[in-house]
Amino acid sequence: MSLIPAALATATGLGVAGAAAGLVLPQRVRGAVVGVLTAGVGVAGGASGVAALGGSRWSAEVPGLLPLAGTHFAVDALSGLFMAVAGAVVAAVAVYGVGYVAGHGAHGLGSRGAQAVLPLFALSLLLVPAAASVSTFLLLWELMALTSLLLVLAEHRARPAVREAAVWYAVMTHLGLVLLLAGFMVYAAQAGGETFAALRSGSGAMSPAVRGLVFVLTAVAFSSKAGLVPLHAWLPRAHPEAPSAVSALMSAAMVNLGVYGLVRVGFDLLGGGPAWWWLLAMAMGGLSAVYGILQAAMASDLKRLLAYSTSENMGLVVLGVGAAGLFDHAGNKALAGLALAAALLHVVNHSAFKALLFCAAGSVLRATGERNLDLLGGLRARMPLTTGLFALGALGAVALPPGNGFISEWLLLQSMIHGLAVPGVTTAIVLPVAVAVIALSSGLAAAVFVKALGVGFFARPRAEGAAAARESPLLMLAGMGLLAALCAALALVPGLLGDGLDRAVEAVGYPGTRPVSGGGLQVRLDEVSAVLSPLWVVATLTVALGAVTATVRWAGRRRQRRTRARLWDCGGGAPTPRMAYTATSFAEPLQRVFDDVLAPEQDVDVTPVRESAYLVERVKFRNRVPDRIEHRLYRPVLDFLAAAGQSARRLAGGSVHAYLGYGFFGLVTLLVVLVVGW
């Protein structure tokens, strides 16, 4: 018996045991037991993923489990990659969650319901990539959606905003499910079978129109799960309002599965397609990348900022996936493999740093009760370890060396730049724009995370919550430490992924180009070569840093100790925290630059004193940057639905006779239609 089924069975057993423990155990021990069992789910599921990345494959059919269709499982290297990522995130976040729940009492994430659902959510994250038939996949997909929805709702007693976020999330995820269901139904009917093997073999004989329809339906559904613009509206609501451990799981493991679905259906099952599929994917990816990071630049809610950054990073990933499809369509399989490898590597890196960032944001929220960056600050002195961990995650997110995000964006850029090998007007127009999108989004990401770190953690506290902050408990730090170690390992020795990345790319039929090996990255194609060695960059930077400090020491003639001095206060007395820049003021120049895109709303209310119009008593200034796409796209639909509902209310006058009349009328109409129709 190979490792994969044993590990998956273990994970399932632990998940179910965790759910039972969450239901049964008293509150005193619930968090710890469920946390340990959930961590076990992560470790076991991650182990099966790693085994699949190592080259083993497994597939099985369990006929009795579901009526009619039975359940089918198959694990290849592509599934393995997503399972390994989800497993690692689940294990680390579960450790963090034990500490998170400990101080929270019986409400929120610590409640009986939430603790029973958490292991099931973790389990579904691990099992979705292993599903190998439409019914199995959809069942697990829906399990994942429902469990995550219940977890988003966990803190609904504390804040009314949670309920609104949960409604948005429930509606959008189920619209996605409907699309997915429609797409898979068309696909299965045409292919003559619902297992992935049947879909794979049946896709060749389908007409291009049906293939296109299937791709569009499923791609739109998957892009909504991945949080791509314009179907992102749930993401900046649900991620901030969920308990932070759940945000981390959603943002670092669940959104990935949207990418997984896109790759699985687009490349593996449908076997690639015409250029317009992939141009559509690239358009959505590019739009998400720029729009997501712009909104993140404007956000002053720390978790909302991170959620928009998720949208950005998933956009970059889908940009890479789309480029891979485009290269494949043009016949350059090697380049397609490289672009896909870059996209998958970015999935791995994003999961590592985003889980860390969300956990750190959760620690801040727990310690200060505050998510608003404008009211934070000064945490560096009060929560030094959390600040350090957040800084490490932010370094990954800004895509600068020596962070881990840099590695995958480097590879992504390499695959785009060398798209010149693919002739044609389309690539000549699309690829420069794609490169510009990646460049612009990484430039803006730097501003975003300087804001998050510099305003949120440095300087002095701007409110009492931040001033009273204490360092998080040990288990939370340990969970974040695991994620930080993962980030550092991915940043310094990406070769740890070994041939796994190659096998994942080969699983969908592209030649692996071995971009990641040993201590670095290298791109070797026919006309291209490029090498990146992160360890070398870090080593040189360290040597240079040492040389600089040593020289400064040596140059100061007398050995002098650092003296402390007052900040420059223009002679007006010590500056108060209210004088410091806030996140809103930090973002103001960028808001001006992108004024036309963001369309911010500003209100200035000046109240003069009664005696003179020139003496101002009070100035009220309100600045809001609404999500413009959401505003334009969703508001009309919602308004229409609300209006339709309002006018339909006139039918419901409260009279029982009228209601009986409706029923009678309906029945008669139906009967008449049936009689005439048949």
Partner: protein, 320 residues
């Protein structure tokens, strides 16, 4: 391995480190003479560095590690850049590492460290400088990346020595539409990145306009020396990069010591001429209003995008 390559690196780093303050001195002196002043002499920046290094180091109350470590990190990134960028020879032991994306990212890392230091002070000036600097950097980094991509496409690599050696072999690449557009875009981006007129005035301390100086207002003594030295290093490396990319003549491509020495002389000359030209131009320029700066940068970003598109189109038809 090749001793000439190592010699070239040592010479290059030595020249950049020794020459960076001299370049600033030269630019100030040029400007002073053009404005009819006597000027403080070319050596004045070195005297400033020496003076500042001997002062006592000061930590303002309420600042932390970010404030403390930003100046050394700024200088360290600039030093690594001075090692990587091929100013005098393309045949060095680090030629495989000198990746264009790494170079641009290291530049950004220095900017980011200083912006965090500005925010760390918790003063209005520090935050204001950091905010403005990051808004500018968010537009400048993509522009530099795009401009040099336009040049990397004909070379088929993002490796800087390969690009420079290719351009030295085929000067026609530089006069192609892509090359000319990229030069224009990169020139604007270099002005913005090194904080020169018309984007930022390095000589001002007026709160309405200052960007870089606002971030570093709290620094004194040796830390200030490092910040100023770091800025000078960046200016030198960026002007050197500009010279290497667009006037690559004379850069040694083989393992000959004579060629390396000649290249060193030429590189010093090229950077000095560029610096003096910039200083002379600054006499006639006024600083742009802060909120007009993004228009300039967006323009240069567009130029860079056009350059990349042009090189895709022209390279796609002619280069295959």
């Amino acid at each position: 391995m090749n001793t000439v390559g190592y010699t070239a690196i040592v010479l290059q780093v030595g020249a950049v480190v020794a020459g960076a303050p001299l370049l600033t001195g030269l630019m100030r002196q040029t400007r002073a003479r053009l404005e009819g002043r006597a000027g403080a002499g070319v050596l004045q920046p070195w005297r400033d560095v020496r003076k500042l290094l001997r002062k006592e180091p000061i930590t303002p109350v309420g600042t932390g590690p970010a404030f403390r470590w930003a100046p050394p990190l700024l200088v360290a990134t600039s030093l690594v850049l001075a090692v990587l960028v091929p100013l005098i020879s393309t045949d060095t032991p680090v030629r495989g590492r000198a990746d264009l994306i790494v170079v641009v990212s290291l530049l950004a890392l220095g900017t980011l460290a200083l912006a965090l230091a500005g925010l760390d002070t918790g003063t209005a000036f520090g935050g204001m400088g950091a905010s403005r600097e990051m808004a500018i950097a968010a537009l400048v980094e993509p522009t530099i990346l795009m401009a040099v991509f336009a040049l990397s496409i004909p070379a088929g690599s993002t490796n800087l020595p390969v690009i420079v050696a290719g351009a030295a072999d085929q000067p026609a690449r530089l006069t192609s539409p892509a090359g000319l557009l990229a030069i224009a875009a990169l020139a604007v981006a270099v002005l913005a990145e090194s904080g020169r007129l018309p984007v930022d005035n390095p000589a001002t301390h007026l709160e309405l306009t200052m960007v870089h100086e606002a971030m570093t207002l709290e620094y004194a003594g040796p830390d200030l020396a490092l910040v100023e030295f770091g800025a000078q290093l960046r200016l030198t490396v960026l002007l050197g990069l500009l010279a290497s990319l667009f006037a690559p003549w004379g850069i040694a491509t083989g393992a000959s010591l004579a060629a390396v020495l000649l290249a060193l002389l030429l590189a010093v000359l090229k950077v000095a001429v560029l610096g003096m030209a910039l200083a002379a131009a600054e006499v006639f320029w006024a600083k742009l209003r802060l909120f007009r700066v993004p228009e300039l940068l967006a323009g240069s970003f567009l130029l860079a995008l056009l350059a990349v598109t042009a090189s895709y189109f022209l390279g796609g038809e002619g280069g295959q």
